[in-house]
């Protein structure tokens, strides 16, 4: 066919593709709103299982939570994937250059949430920030916020505990990132950065991000869903399975003696256990939910979760290339201390 006809055909296809989006969103809403009714209907009406038995409760919990969490995850990862196309490490660096110390920490923490980041990028990012003169503490605020406040964690917290908890997680995570980074900056630890880092000088043009069309952004959202949900769904199912078992079988106040409020040592203990552990958010949160249900106090549970997710062994190993050991330990120590303080505060307040 001639060029004009081909162009019209292509445009028609484009419009059709865009129409998919609202349709899928509508389907999503339909599924999500009817989840409780659907699973209860399945368990009680269709299969006619008795209410109240441990096994039935466990299965019912599982059948409801898995699709609910997966649906939420798909939606939020998609949205965050699109938001992230508006940010890039280059842009973040430009924004952070020249900011005064505390303002820089705040911006770095906020940007850590929205800038796309994977732990293998930790070094190029660290080097790139430092060589344009962004202070060490500000860089750290970014490096702490980025892995700790990830959208999978936020979605899971929202889906399993509600908006308040999710919001609290984001704000305390930010607070810890900002204050830890600021503290590290104040301690003047630049001498613990490997020397060769400071010898790299920024020369020439730094390539800036090309403008993406709306369609490319949507595609980025979709590929984020495929990548993240594809990686994480197994852990979610396992985690919810464990959580379901705890929910159905373990008696109400079992955890209260170990992780409850009255045990003041529960916060430091859970942080100490959590720091060396590394799990992605998907696996650990359903477990945390089950612990909470059985009497663990909110502060202890959150502290545990943050230390597992926020400090990861793989990332620390990567950072070893650019940071000398004392700085790494100080880094871990300050973040752990921040998490503990948050844990204590929560136990006091909630």
């Amino acid at each position: 066919m001639n060029k004009a006809a081909a162009a019209t055909k292509a445009r028609k296809r484009e419009t059709q593709k865009i129409l998919w989006l609202p349709m899928i969103l509508a389907l999503w809403l339909l599924a999500f709103m009817n989840l409780r009714a659907a699973t209860d209907g399945l368990v009680f009406k269709l299969l006619k299982w008795p209410a109240g038995s441990h096994l039935v409760e466990t299965i019912r919990f599982f059948l409801y939570e898995v699709p609910k969490v997966l649906l939420l995850l798909i939606l939020i990862v998609f949205i965050v994937g699109i938001i992230r196309t508006f940010f890039s490490p280059e842009r973040t660096r430009k924004i952070l250059e020249g900011k005064s110390l505390f303002a820089g920490n705040v911006m770095a923490g906020l940007l850590g949430i929205v800038t796309p980041f994977c732990s293998c990028s930790a070094i190029p990012l660290f080097l790139g920030f430092v060589e344009t003169g962004i202070p060490l503490g500000v860089t750290f605020s970014f490096l702490i916020a980025a892995p700790m406040i990830n959208e999978v964690a936020v979605v899971l917290l929202f889906g399993l505990f509600g908006l308040k908890t999710a919001f609290l997680y984001i704000s305390t995570g930010l607070l810890i990132a900002i204050l830890s980074g600021w503290t590290i900056g104040k301690l003047k630890l630049e001498k613990y950065v490997e020397d060769w880092v400071y010898r790299i000088r920024a020369e020439g043009e730094i390539p800036t991000r090309e403008d993406m069309s709306f369609r490319t952004r949507i595609e980025a959202g979709i590929s984020a869903v495929k990548e993240i949900v594809g990686k994480v769904w197994k852990y979610i199912i396992i985690g919810i399975g464990v959580g379901a078992g705890v929910h159905g079988y373990i008696p109400e106040n079992f955890m209260a003696s170990i992780m409850g409020k009255s045990a003041w040592w529960s916060v430091p203990l859970s942080v100490l256990i959590g720091v060396p552990l590394y799990s992605n958010a998907a696996g650990i949160i359903p477990v945390v939910q089950a612990l909470l249900e059985k009497g663990a106090s909110l502060g202890t549970a959150l502290a545990f979760m943050m230390s597992v997710i926020g400090l990861s062994l793989p990332e620390t190993i990567i950072l070893k290339k650019v940071l000398k050991l004392p700085l790494i330990f100080i880094f871990i120590g300050i973040v752990a201390a921040g998490i503990m303080i948050v844990g204590f505060l929560f136990n006091l307040v909630f």
Binding site: S88, P89, I123
Partner: protein, 81 residues
């Protein structure tokens, strides 16, 4: 044509490498494709996040996995110029 994939070896960089090889094959263009994993050499390209893709010394993309279409477009740009 010189193509460099920049990354320490995580799955995302491997995906970029795979897509780049496919793009070159689909376009029928021959190129010298190399993967750079050494962090100091990667930093010579001034990118802030891996994976990165550079053609003829120019960084086309960094910090994300580009689509096959984008990679083809960049290859064609460099092939013409």
């Amino acid at each position: 044509m010189e193509v460099r994939i920049l990354g320490p070896g995580c799955p995302r960089c491997q995906e970029v490498e795979k897509r780049t090889v496919n793009a070159l094959a689909e376009l029928g263009i021959a190129a010298d494709v190399q993967k750079i994993s050494d962090i100091k050499k990667i930093m010579e390209f001034k990118i802030l996040a891996t994976p990165g893709l550079a053609i003829n010394g120019k960084v086309k993309c960094s910090g994300r996995i580009p689509s096959l279409e984008e990679i083809k477009r960049w290859i064609q740009e460099e092939n013409r110029g």
